[in-house]
């Protein structure tokens, strides 16, 4: 187990290093960046001074060494577009908001999704099953932006249920409270998870329903509810649980469209703006940050796999 962990840890470091290097050189290879826009209409002399100030007059190799050195100290540099913004300052300001929004979405979405999946599997072939299937297909194919806008128009404001049109709790209510602001953003983002988890659960359930151990359990006289809980549901949790860490990794990348529609000051919107304006230091910093999260999440799912299903052994040996 320890051997496995060490090896995986080294792989993780290498992966992140490669992501950093690849991102750096790809960004450098694209003609134009945020600086181009910033200096576009200035006289030549001003342009030169600003390029020098940001160090973009130096060759790409030298920039790489400097950037890598700073990055090892956790410093990705200051935003070109918004003076004073750094990856750390943005994360500390905005991450809590995104984490709360997405946690609520996932908790709500996963629970409802699993319940619907179980119902669909137990009532397979009936109108209920088809109803859930159609609902899931619909929710997977409609973009969350559309759902968010429809919810906002229908349920917010005095013509709807009186829920706030925009806004998000802050200050003392950052983590807990101000629920009325969070209802619509949570539900409009959660429907995507509901659809995903309902389908995954249903398929996993159907798999285990037809397994021999289930038939055996029935044969030895276990009650139907015991069969479902002990054999069917437990076995079908394997794919669900291994899927979960990656869902959680997605938490940090934020719900871009939902943040935009409801004026939620989260990370998602900011990251996308950075990319579209080619704000190189910020894009690089966020990309490395997200890859760290993703790599850790993949690692977590591997470990969980072993925990849920003891037959899958985690060792340092070659399998």
């Amino acid at each position: 187990m320890a051997k496995f962990l060490i090896r995986r840890f080294i792989y993780m470091i290498i992966t992140i290093f490669l992501v950093f290097t690849a991102t750096f050189f790809m960004l450098a290879a694209i003609p134009g960046n945020a600086l181009t826009g910033k200096i576009a209409k200035l006289p030549e002399s001003s342009q030169q001074r600003i390029i020098q100030k940001y160090g973009y007059d130096k060759p790409v190799g030298e920039r790489y060494v400097v950037t890598l050195g700073n990055a090892l100290h956790g410093d990705f540099g200051e935003s070109i577009v918004n003076a004073g913004d750094t990856v750390q300052s943005i994360l500390s300001e905005r991450l809590p908001v995104t984490v709360r929004l997405n946690t609520q979405q996932i908790v709500f979405g996963v629970i409802i999704g699993i319940v619907l999946g179980v119902i669909a599997a137990m009532r397979r072939g009936t109108a209920v099953d088809y109803g859930i299937l159609i609902f899931c297909m619909f929710m997977t194919s409609v973009p969350s932006l559309v759902i968010a806008l429809i919810f906002q128009l229908t349920f917010a404001g005095s013509s709807g249920l009186g829920l706030p049109i925009i806004g998000w709790p802050s200050g003392d209510e950052l983590w807990f409270g101000g629920w009325q602001y969070t209802i619509l953003p949570t539900i409009s983002g959660a429907l995507f998870y509901v659809a995903g988890y309902a389908r995954t659960t249903k398929i996993a359930m159907l798999d285990s329903i037809y397994q021999e151990c289930t038939t055996t359990a029935r044969a030895i006289g276990m009650s139907e509810s015991e069969v479902v809980i002990h054999h069917v549901v437990r076995n079908s949790f394997i794919p669900i649980i291994t899927y979960l860490p990656q869902t959680i990794a997605g938490v940090l990348s934020g719900s871009l469209f939902i943040e935009r529609v409801f004026s939620i000051p989260g990370v998602g919107n900011y990251y996308v703006e950075c990319i579209s304006s080619r704000d190189i230091p910020m894009v690089l910093g966020f990309t490395v940050f997200y890859s760290c999260i993703t790599v850790v999440a993949i690692f977590a799912s591997d470990v969980l796999y072993g925990v849920v299903d003891p037959r899958i052994k985690i060792t340092g040996d070659k399998r």
Binding site: G32, I39, K41, L42, Q52, Q152
Partner: protein, 585 residues
């Protein structure tokens, strides 16, 4: 505004300026004649109530602050925040057509020497929000920071005309007292130019020259301007809460010299760009001003007519887009010929373009937009009419005439004229992610193809950043669409683009005669002579047909009926709420 599809990328840098300043030619009286506008220019019936509401609070969409360091600023959103929270030498008011008038604000009077070199300002007594007086040193310090070689301020060139400024900027001298900007006493500041610059007053009125507190800036060093809590304010409002692209709040600044005339107590701002959300907020009364776009414009114009809101619209905000011609010839090799350039340019119908693609904006017939004015009228009127207008009247939608002109160009180049479909032009453009953008590209393509019978190939790059880097190479395109947002309210902000070797001279226009006249006009202090020179410059650009003006961007905003006195800015910032009153409703 910056978020609007095609505009988004081109509105890189914007500064504000005044009309009368630009036209005054050095007389201290002209700028002082501005009369305070009593209420916002508004059509539609406003609230009939003449009583003030108990709560003087408004709700707006939040501008994005890039920096609050006025010497580093170069975008219209940060400028909006500065205009509402700081006081410079001048403040502007706008009439219902968007014509700006400068009013003395931070100064009570000023004189310009006869040789046009020395500008002396007497300051008004004003106080910073921490109780310190605003002094001439604050104005001088701003210039020293603008010219600081280490800071590389984008608009340092605004102050480069001052005596020794170029040497200070290049590090050749390090003693700022040798530069032509001095505090004569606490309340008098003097700017001295090396050579006369007829546009200097217009530049002085921009946020770059806002006074700055040396002690505060030094306390925060490099981070000055990135955090509102570090700032002190000398304008109508002060920032009391701010999280960028999230929410913010301004409150009335009681230490402002004109605080007695500021009625509004609070401006609350939330960041949101979704039109549907903003529409809903406006209708619920939770938003005071809505910059409607696309389909919402028609709906809100209807509402304005029935008195449910007020409309503020100006034909021009000073910005413009045109179709550039690659004078070196481009990949087709055709564009070096002036008749071909004229035929290509005139085959595009700007009026149809505005109505088909955007359903708004003003079709262009000159390179100088209506918002650029001269002694109280539009520059193009003052200078004897729009230079492209006759051409447009004669050739627009006349395929035979256009093809004839095109063939004449081909003959001059010694090329065959029998089969025009053999010729292909390359149109370099970029993807803004908006569907309007795609329609725009195809519209231009079809117009040229249909009118001239030639082919147009679209070369769509991935974004403005890439485009900005590639468009500089004129051998990669025959035509491209480019735009400009003026830096100050004087035609020079446009004419300066086409100086030989200019950094935004994508057409690569190089005409020594033009360069000389440009220089002479800059130095000319006589207003009439300068107007004549400007007119000649405009004529040269037309005669060489370096581009085809396409459209002027406009201003359109909708305000709640009970809100009075909103000033929508042209050319440099979005709004000024210092004169706003909320009426009972």
């Amino acid at each position: 505004m910056r978020k609007r599809a095609l505009l988004a990328c081109t509105l890189a840098a914007v500064l504000l300026v005044s009309t009368s300043l630009a036209g005054c030619g050095g007389s201290g009286d002209t700028a002082s004649s501005g009369t305070a506008t009593e209420s916002g220019a508004a059509s539609g019936t406003a609230s009939t109530s003449t009583e003030l509401a108990d709560e003087q609070v408004v709700y707006l969409t939040q501008p994005e602050i890039r920096t609050l360091d006025s010497t580093q600023m170069n975008d219209n959103q940060s400028a909006t925040v500065l205009v509402n929270t700081m006081e410079g030498l001048f403040r502007y008011s706008f009439d219902d057509q968007g014509n700006a008038t400068a009013e003395k604000a931070g100064c009570t009077d000023y004189t310009v020497s006869d040789d046009g070199l020395t500008y002396t300002f007497t300051l008004r007594e004003n106080t910073w929000s921490d109780g310190e007086p605003v002094t001439a040193d604050d104005y001088v310090y701003a210039v020293s920071r603008l010219l600081d070689p280490d800071l590389a301020a984008p608009y340092a060139f605004f102050a480069e005309g001052l005596v020794n400024a170029d040497k200070y900027l290049s590090g050749e001298i390090t003693d700022f007292s040798q530069v032509g900007c001095k505090a004569l006493d606490d309340m008098t500041v003097e700017y001295t130019l090396a050579e006369p610059d007829s546009t200097f007053l217009a530049k002085l009125a921009s946020p770059e020259f806002l006074p700055l507190r040396q002690d505060i800036v030094e306390q925060y060093g490099d981070n000055y301007g990135t955090d509102y809590t570090q700032l002190v304010f000398n304008g109508p409002f002060k920032i009391t809460e701010w999280t960028n692209t999230a929410s913010g709040k301004f409150e009335k600044n009681e230490s402002y010299w004109n605080a007695d005339n500021v009625t509004l107590q609070e401006i609350n701002m939330t960041y949101n760009n979704e039109q549907s959300t903003l529409d809903q907020l406006f209708k619920e009364g939770q938003l005071s001003q809505f910059g409607a776009a696309t389909d919402y414009i028609a709906v809100y114009e209807q509402m304005a007519q029935s008195g449910q809101c007020q409309e503020i619209s100006y034909p021009s905000d000073g910005g413009e887009f045109w179709i550039s011609m690659s004078l070196g010839g481009g990949p087709s090799g055709l564009m070096s010929n002036v008749n071909i350039r004229r035929a290509v340019g005139l085959s595009i119908d700007g009026e149809a373009y505005c109505s088909t693609i955007y359903g708004r904006y003003t079709p262009a017939d000159d390179l100088i937009p209506p918002a650029i004015s001269w002694d109280g009228q539009q520059f193009t009127e003052a200078s004897g009419g729009a230079k492209w207008a006759d051409d447009i009247a004669e050739y627009r939608n006349q395929p035979e005439k256009l093809q004839e002109m095109f063939k004449q160009g081909l003959e001059e180049l010694g090329l065959q004229t029998d089969d025009l479909s053999q010729y292909t032009l390359s149109y370099m453009t970029y993807d803004t992610g908006s569907s309007l953008n795609k329609q725009s590209q195809e519209f231009i393509q079809q117009q040229i193809e249909q009118n001239l019978g030639i082919n147009v190939e679209l070369n769509v790059l991935s974004g403005w950043e890439q485009y900005g880097a590639e468009v500089e190479d004129g051998s990669k395109w025959d035509i491209s669409m480019n735009g400009w947002v003026p830096d100050y309210n004087d035609p020079m902000t446009y004419f300066g683009i086409w100086e030989t070797g200019g950094s935004s001279n994508y057409e690569q226009y190089a005409n020594p005669e033009y360069d000389q006249l440009l220089k002479d006009a800059q130095a000319e202090t006589d207003s009439d002579k300068r107007l004549d020179m400007y007119s000649q410059l405009d004529q040269m650009l037309h005669d060489d047909f370096i581009c085809m003006p396409l459209y002027f961007t406009d201003v359109k905003s909708f305000i709640q009926p009970y809100i009075q006195g909103v000033q929508i800015g042209t050319m440099g910032y979005m709004w000024d709420y210092s004169k706003v009153q909320v009426m009972a409703h």
